[in-house]
Symmetry: C2
Subunit: 254 residues, 2 copies
């Protein structure tokens, strides 16, 4: 069994706890949260603490807190020469403090407490300073997921950036679609099969090859009609920008 | 059995043919294409023609051709007072010529020949001038799908516009993600679980509630880092625009 301590009570910490608890190769010895209230989200079967002085011993200490707090927090962890990893896509491994061995354990997924997730398909991106630590993190990763990859800080930054495009920005487009339909009292359910097919299509077609719509056809009549239909200026701006970049990307200037 | 003639050989015509052929309530009597070559994509078990003078009789004539050709084509169909419908999201029903009874049969999905689709879950949006025709189109629609809706031209235009956001624009974001990873020799497979979870999440969470990422957190440090990482100017522009509109939409000015 590999003993783990997790720092943090957010979505990543919550899902890590649940997935690690159900693995027979990992024991979550303890979860640290700043307040008792924040620890309420952590499953009751896991030992928790609000005090760093009560910290249990572990083979891997996982910092699953907000990106901008990682550096400061890594300085005050009261263990030395232990393996301390963070779970962030955008923070370089080097931001961890030097008094412990550094590593990254980045599960590439969008976590929310409202949704159960299977870790099995989630890519887990690992980085360490030392080979022994990498071997240990691989064991942890493979206990949760079938997709464990070694990825350095530079590549991970690009991965996280790409994730912002395909998750955050895509989700905002869903929100625009939702609101457009709401104004016409149409159910968002109408768009769901299209949203799922669009996402499923990229399983076997390169997204550039799957591109369709008025912009790639250079269908100025429909584009103008659509911009006219939009009430919200930021929606108009988004529509114009996409139409321009799509038609540029595929070699047709609007 | 309801007899159907389809005009067109594109993706919509192809998928309609296949779905209608496998229904025991519909017979595709004929498919019309301008050239023999274009008709090659149509399954061999369906009768085809390149001449409008050889047109078979049907209860519903379906125009499944490009949007800007619908009006002209509807004028030359050599039948009168028959039900002639188009399959377009953005073309008003009124663009069909007056010498036939008008209707719309709009399957809200992104079709490509490379992918098999189940029609059962695809919303089919109907519009007609006459109640009898609506009843007939409903029968056709329900033979293919569990989701048949009556939607007028104005609402359908909004639906199509929303579809452009959640399909065309989303797909372009997938393409950007794909290309960013390719530059770093990373596999696009890494992003697929995230893409699918992002799409699945909207099944039970309103997309506005599911929004995460640097822009909604007003995390200027990560935003600047990301813009700096992007090499392509249009990617930088897209990133800036999304960050601004996301943070504006959620009440935080960047």
């Amino acid at each position: 069994m590999i003993d783990i301590v997790i720092f943090g009570t957010g979505n990543v910490a919550y899902h890590l706890c649940k997935a690690m608890h159900s693995s027979d190769k990992i024991t979550v010895k303890q979860v640290y949260g700043r307040t008792k209230r924040s620890l309420k989200s952590i499953p009751k079967y896991i030992d928790t603490t609000t005090s760093l002085t009560n910290l249990k011993k572990a083979e891997v200490y996982i910092i699953a807190i907000s990106d901008d707090a990682i550096n400061d927090f890594s300085k005050i962890i009261p263990v030395s020469n232990s393996l301390v990893v963070h779970t962030s896509g955008s923070v370089p491994m080097s931001e961890l403090d030097n008094h412990n061995r550094k590593g990254v354990f980045y599960p590439l997924q969008s976590f929310s407490k409202e949704r159960e997730l299977s870790f099995k398909t989630i890519p887990i991106c690992l980085e360490t300073e030392h080979q022994d630590d990498l071997d240990l993190l691989k064991e942890v990763g493979l206990a949760l997921s079938d997709h464990v990859e070694v990825i350095d800080s530079q590549k991970r930054a690009t991965l996280h950036l790409a994730a912002v495009f395909v998750n955050n920005f895509v989700n905002h487009l869903y929100a625009i679609g939702h609101d457009l339909l709401k104004e016409e009292s149409l159910s968002f359910d109408l768009l769901k099969p299209l949203i799922h097919e669009t996402a499923d299509k990229i399983n076997n077609i390169n997204p550039s090859k799957a591109q369709t719509g008025p912009a790639i056809r250079n269908d100025l009549k429909t584009i103008e009609k659509h911009i006219h239909l939009l009430k919200n200026n930021s929606d108009k701006e988004a529509y114009r920008m996409f139409s321009t970049i799509i038609s540029k990307s595929y070699g047709k200037e609007l």
